[in-house]
């Protein structure tokens, strides 16, 4: 495990910013602040049969946060609420030391964040905002 948080692959993922932008008519949407650093993520989802058809996000945040959002833009389609919740938990577990879940190879990029507990929130924020966006849809 490299101790370097900022591997080239993580930088590339962040800068690719998969899913950045807005959806024309989202089914769900949420805005979340990081309570302590002022970072902010907006997530929009379009759904089909309870599953995510499309994701769009707008991130004012650090590279870790941007990479996490980009990862969701890349692979989020197809998740339902339960799947998104499980994913969030698996990401948290990965940060706490578990092996990343199969099928999400990019999560390996966050392993070096483990010892930096104050940065865990940066990685988790997009996942949590996605959950909130799905939840907003349920309640609408």
């Amino acid at each position: 495990m490299s101790d370097d948080l900022y591997q080239q692959a993580l930088l590339d993922l962040a800068k690719a910013a998969h899913g950045a932008g807005t959806l024309p008519s989202p089914d769900g949407e949420a805005l979340r602040d990081s309570p302590l650093c002022g970072d902010r993520v907006r997530m929009q989802v379009a759904l089909e049969g309870g599953r995510i058809r499309a994701i769009a996000h707008d991130v004012k945040g650090c590279l870790l946060c941007r990479a996490a959002a980009s990862l969701l833009g890349l692979h989020g389609a197809g998740l339902d609420a339960a799947g998104a919740g499980a994913l969030r938990d698996r990401v948290a577990a990965t940060l706490a030391g578990s092996e990343p879940p199969p099928g999400w190879p990019e999560l390996k990029l966050f392993e070096p964040v483990r010892p930096h507990r104050n940065r865990h929130g940066c990685v988790l924020l997009p996942f949590e905002t996605l959950l909130a966006a799905l939840d907003s849809q349920t309640r609408a």
């Binding site: 309570p35 302590l36 002022g38 010892p115 930096h116 507990r117 940065r119």
Partner: protein, 404 residues
Amino acid sequence: MSFSAAKWRDRFPLLAAHPGLHYLDNAATGQLCEAAFDAVTHHDLTHRANVLRGTYRLAEQADAAYENARQQVATYLNAANAEEVVFTAGTTAAINLVAHAFGEGLGAGDEVMLSLAEHHSNFVPWQMLRARRGVVLRILPLAPDGRLDLARLEEHLTPRCKLVAVTHASNVTGAVTELVPIVSAAHAVGARVLVDGAQAVQHGPVDVQALGVDLYAFSGHKAFGPTGVGVLWGKAEALEQLPPFLGGGGMIGRVTPGETTFAMPPRRFEAGTPPIAQAVGLGAALDWLQAQPWADMHAHTARLAQRLLEELAVLPGLTFLGPRDLRNRLPIVSFNLDGLHPHDVCQVLDRHGVAVRGGHHCAQPLMDFFGVAGAVRASLAPYNSEADIDALLAGLKDAMRKLG
């Protein structure tokens, strides 16, 4: 028996350095244990930085140390979750936090029940709340021996009661409060229970879940930890319902000149830079205490207290404040000698190397109940020994001779 008071004493640097000192003022302040001393020193020499969001190593270490202390406190209290532990400046600060945060939800006609045995720190904040919001204070009376008169609980605990705030143990009589009937009666009328644990935690781990209480306060300095730190524990759902008390850095979500949102507990209640090194020291003290042989230690202090009670009882003109037996009682013994003023007695005892406190012990309503202005109090910790009791008794006899 695996416990040796002499060996325990050696774990307290001040006591180890002062072999002639008979320190019997533990209800005022316990001596600092080596574990806490070392933890604070280590922290200040290797991990000192502000907490919250520092991204450099030193700050990460400070954060980890601070949150580890929170976990150590949670373990000692058997809290469900470390996030239920709020660090404060002490018991007094913790009780005032509740009096304000919980108190903001109360209005005229709502009731708060206390007991007549409370320390000023669990009395005055409620009087001030009464002045601010018109709540009614109900004072549970005492039985003649100073114990809370539970027979009169029903009469004082009305459906208008929103909070019961009682001490876990009296700092004057040593009487331990029977919390279980109080908690069930309080919960039956929908009231929360705040317990002042300032005198309890230093006598062994506490199980807040088994007690069933909602909020629990104590101080570091009485639990062999540093001054400048204390704890408010609260059930997660109780804390979540409380608005913040103090405003400042660290307890907010977002601040604009117009509006501010607040963080989740425990942070919501920890405005400003917390007592970081002191919390680390307190955590280390409790972690160390947790591993001690408490059954042996209780037997040891009870034996000393028993002897003290017996030998005092035969002194001419002596009156006790509080129960005369040791059932459900801490090794705290308060008394008066007829015609002798507590301060004069303490001053003579000091010449015998005996440190005890005289005065009202910040419990004037209880003093009034006993009809005295003050008392001499000897309060024991596990590091005390027969020699301390010997010195106290010899000093008292000298005081009677000298001052009588």
